[in-house]
Amino acid sequence: MPTINLPGTPYTDVLSNADTVATDIYDPTGDNSFEVLNGKLDRDNIDIAGGERIRRAHLQRRALNDGRLVGATANLDFFEEVFDNFDPAAIDTRLFRPIPGASIEFYVKDGNQSAVMLTWHLFAANDATDGERSMMLLFLDDAATTIWRRQVPVSVHGGTRDFFYDRTWCGHRTITSLAQGWHSASIRVASNAPQTRIRCRSMAHHWLW
């Protein structure tokens, strides 16, 4: 914004025109008076050409970016009874349950942010047999998305659990327009396998101004 160019200077008839002086000192309608001292000084006022720089210490904490990460280290067991006859072939998103540690709420300070990034990382396995599946979906603001859907395949082999089938899952989503206010993101699970075990490393959000 302001590189100040006082409109009245240089004065030649100051004694007969007080308004000109007053406008140079205080004119809230523009950026060419000393009124810019009321919080309007910005990078244009810094002597960049002279080698001056803005340092990290000059920035307010979390002014340009912010983020938070949640997680859970315990085994999270989901049994098929809670999913009300979930059918992997005909997905009903209402049956998906949020995974603790893979669900986060975050506040967007300003609707003009450049980007909000979500990243997640979790482990999932099950004791499914043929025809049984566990599925995970990304939900944004309680609405199921089509952008991240993962099917946890059968995690046993020959009737016994085989660690080769254990998998970690991860992903990211970048959103360039979110309204100011609270938002939520969560990975949710549904399954018709007897048991689905999840360990959640992280769900994080990071916004950049």
Partner: protein, 243 residues
């Protein structure tokens, strides 16, 4: 610079020239502030440009796409060769044949790291690897086959725009030996790549970023292929340096 105003003293001449001097000093000072003039924590996002110069168009696709060893054999670490044959194949909606929508994004203008306040390019890519398999299935025969992934940038180092592999982004996934059965097993592995492309990687104008894939085969029997599904790519040009 600090504002250093010489105050008028009683008896000094108060005229246009004296006002020009005093107001001019303040004007000059406010237009050339130094680091020392700014208090710690004084600046917020209202005072500064965005940390993100550009969010390149986000790319994402979901359907399955298949790549064959014959089409894209891993060319070696940090190698720029491109498919078909020995080289990287761009990940795209049609797989090995190419020609579909690539997992690739183009900047509005060429971005040169170190110039115009471009401090780096943050790239995030996620690739859902469904299978690595041999065709026809040969259980127990295909040890050591890897699915390979990397990020490439298109930049012009003086000889025209060309793709270059960012070596630090190469990722490899082993074909798992599941109780001796290597055929057609669903791996279902998410392959994440997170990287910051810096001046050490390129100081030439960068026009595009993309994700590529290849297959490494140590000589195992059979013809190998990979099946990918959901992929997405983000590239953010970050602001750094002088404001």
């Amino acid at each position: 610079m600090p504002v250093d105003l010489t105050l008028q003293a009683e008896g000094d001449t108060f005229d246009a020239a004296s006002l020009n001097d005093s107001l001019g000093d303040v004007e000059t000072g406010l237009n050339a502030l130094t680091e020392q003039d700014i208090d710690e924590g004084a600046l917020s996002r209202q005072h500064l440009p965005s940390l993100v110069i550009e969010v390149a168009p986000l790319v994402e696709f979901v359907a399955t796409h298949v790549y064959t060893e014959a089409d894209c054999t891993w060319p070696g670490f940090n190698n720029n060769a491109v498919a078909p044959g020995v080289g990287w194949r761009e990940i795209n909606t049609t797989g090995s044949p190419g020609g579909g929508t690539d997992l690739e994004t183009t900047f509005a203008v060429a971005r040169t790291i170190g110039s115009d306040n471009v401090g780096g390019i943050l790239v995030l890519a996620d690739i859902h690897l469904q299978t690595i398999r041999d065709t026809p299935p040969v259980p127990g025969a295909a040890f050591g086959v890897y699915a390979c992934f990397a990020i490439q940038i298109e930049h012009d180092t003086g000889g025209g725009a060309a793709w270059e592999t960012i070596g630090k982004t190469e990722r490899y996934v082993d074909m798992r030996n599941v109780q001796g059965d290597l055929s057609d097993e669903f791996l279902h592995i998410d392959v994440p790549i997170r990287t910051l492309i810096k001046a050490a990687d390129s100081t030439s104008p960068i026009t595009k970023v993309r994700a590529v894939t290849a297959i490494y085969d140590p000589g195992a029997a059979g013809v190998h292929e990979t099946s990918l599904r959901h992929c997405n790519l983000t590239a953010l040009v970050l602001h750094a340096g002088a404001p």
